[in-house]
């Protein structure tokens, strides 16, 4: 890799041993992917995936202490993934005891984040790219982010450029102010390797389609045809919410960092089929294929007929429009079933900024009346508690399904369960 004089000086220790190790780490990272140079980060804000102060992560805290002691802090403010705890989420006394043990380092870690350059006390969400969360990169900007669902959204829907960086590496990029140029930062790396043809009878469930595509293409770039038939050709609130959930499932069920949607996402709308590599294989998705993928999901509940004790909607965090739409759907579902409150304890999760905006609307009071709990936590962090793992928890999130014991249902099924069936 060819470094500038300033970068070489950093590597040689001009700003101390710790900064030299940061740059060496970034150089080795780039060299593993054939990067020939570093490029400056051009976004206003960074984003880190590590937001949780789990006791066992002592090596991470030690590393961050070393960075801080050496004065190696982020050159840009950054947001972080959601906090792990909220006392409003139902939990037994024993579960709460385990949470206290598990996240014993939360205050210490948040102190480290603040010292490293956290945007503000409310900057905790996986959906940092939503306008209410305040970290919206512009098209073409170079990012040093981690959080698979945020990276794939920033690349695909916003047209920014970011690799699927790991936690810690993303902070090191923000500290150095530059990242190695490879993969999704290059024009060639953004070409589509796969064509996905949608031949379903209706708009496929975003979280199911994303799962199918992620499992098929793994880390490759898919170009999806036929989705604009239902989503239209404008990136409106509905389309963006759909793509947020689709991308999160692609990224967690596979490792997709960028997708193109024909006639919709910015690069596909501009370049069309020219974005597709010659001889790209075709993956046809019809209703039977989605059912095949879904039927392959393992479920590790001991009692498959157990009555659900909790329901999570909002992984990744919901948009303002999704909160409003779900409020109406829950109200209508309860009315049709002759119920006043949800039959299963249900939590909707969203960014603090989105919740603040939602609280200013008439929908907030209406959602509260249904019994649904609104929270800004990470459902995954809740499910990491081994006592939560034993609970029958249901979700419409394919990401939550992938990482935890939560059982997946489509949005319509979730709605029916929480408003009518209770099981």
């Amino acid at each position: 890799m060819i470094l500038t004089n300033e970068q070489q000086a950093l590597l040689d220790g001009a700003q101390g041993e710790t900064m030299a190790k940061v740059v060496k780490t970034l150089v080795m990272y780039g060299e593993a992917f054939g990067a020939e140079r570093m490029v400056p980060i051009t976004s206003k804000y960074g984003h880190t995936v590590i937001s949780f102060g789990i006791g066992v992560m002592k090596p991470v805290y030690a590393l961050y202490d070393a960075l801080l002691q050496a004065g190696a802090v982020s050159k840009q403010p950054f947001s972080a993934d959601p906090r792990p705890l909220d006392k409003n989420i139902p939990a037994s006394p024993l579960q709460n005891l385990v949470f206290k043990f598990m996240y014993s380092q939360q205050a210490r870690y948040e102190g480290q984040l603040k010292a490293l350059g956290l945007m503000n006390d409310q900057a905790f969400t996986c959906a940092c790219y939503l306008p209410e969360a305040g970290n919206v990169p512009q098209r073409g900007e170079i990012l040093s982010w981690a959080e698979s669902s945020a990276v794939v959204y920033a690349n695909s829907v916003l047209g920014a450029r970011c690799n699927r960086n790991s936690g810690i590496i993303e902070i090191m990029g923000s500290i150095a102010g530059f990242v190695p140029e490879f993969g999704l930062l290059t024009d060639d790396g953004r070409m589509a390797d796969w064509i996905v043809e949608i031949r379903t009878e209706k708009l496929p469930e975003a979280q199911l389609l994303g799962s199918a595509v992620g499992m098929k293409v793994l880390e490759k770039v898919p170009y999806v045809k036929g989705l604009d038939r239902w989503l239209g050709k404008e990136l409106d609130d509905r389309a963006c919410a759909y793509l947020k959930d689709f991308g999160a499932a692609c990224a967690s069920n596979g490792s997709v960092g960028l997708y193109h949607i024909e006639n919709l996402t910015p690069e596909a709308a501009e370049q069309g089929d020219a974005l597709i590599r010659p001889d790209a294989p075709v993956y046809i998705v019809d209703d039977a294929e989605l059912e095949r993928v879904r039927s392959g999901y393992p479920c590790i509940w001991k009692d498959m007929d157990a009555k659900p004790k909790l329901c999570f909607v909002g992984c990744p965090h919901m948009t303002l429009q999704q909160l409003q739409d779900w409020t109406v759907r829950v109200e209508e579902g309860l009315k049709a079933a002759g119920n006043r409150k949800v039959c299963i304890p249900t939590v909707f999760t969203a960014a603090p900024g989105v919740i603040q905006a939602f609280q200013k609307t008439e929908y907030a009071r209406r959602l509260e009346a249904t019994g649904v709990i609104l929270s800004d936590i990470c459902p995954l962090m809740y499910m990491n508690n081994p006592l939560s793992k034993k609970m029958p928890v249901i979700t419409s999130s394919n990401k939550l399904r992938t990482y935890t014991s939560a059982r997946f249902y489509t949005e319509d099924e979730i709605l029916s369960k929480i408003t009518k069936e209770g099981r």
Partner: protein, 147 residues
């Protein structure tokens, strides 16, 4: 039968260990989170979506896999495993390494004392040939022998 493969060195080192093979992508977070969080001494794989590895001990094994997948905490998780001495003996990738596994390996090499050689680009033949329990020997130059 003994068979030799040549790959690319990501982080150097020599190792000899028993093979543990995943034919699908290793989800690092899902595989390691419970074992690390609750001090499982054998570091059993917690990823229910990976039938090759689920509930099998990963500590000290020669982990043979196509790539890693899933959450971008993956590199941090691998770094933490290495810093705690809970890492595999080596990681051997049939495909070119992915960004999360590379991050974890490079963070471990630069910021911990752990020794975990990582070799990629070993090819599909490697993953087709290697089986659980085989003895794997990794050399500094990226030569991998399975027998």
């Amino acid at each position: 039968m003994r068979k030799t493969f040549k790959g690319r060195v990501i982080t150097p080192g020599a190792a000899q260990a028993e093979a543990l093979v995943s034919h699908s992508g290793l989800n690092t977070l899902a595989s390691y989170q419970m074992a690390l969080m609750f001090g499982d001494k054998q570091v059993k794989c917690g990823d229910q979506n990976n039938p090759d590895l689920y509930k099998k001990p990963m500590l000290g094994k020669a982990l043979c896999l196509p790539e890693t997948i899933g959450s971008t905490t993956g590199g941090m998780v691998l770094y933490t495993a290495c810093a705690m001495g809970k890492q595999p003996a080596c990681m051997l990738f049939s495909k070119p390494i992915d960004s999360l596994a590379a991050s974890g390996a490079i963070l471990a090499a630069n910021w911990t004392d752990a020794k975990m050689p990582v070799v990629d680009c070993l090819g599909e033949d490697f993953l087709n040939y290697v089986k659980d329990g085989m003895t794997i020997t990794v050399s500094e130059d990226g030569t991998v022998t399975a027998e």
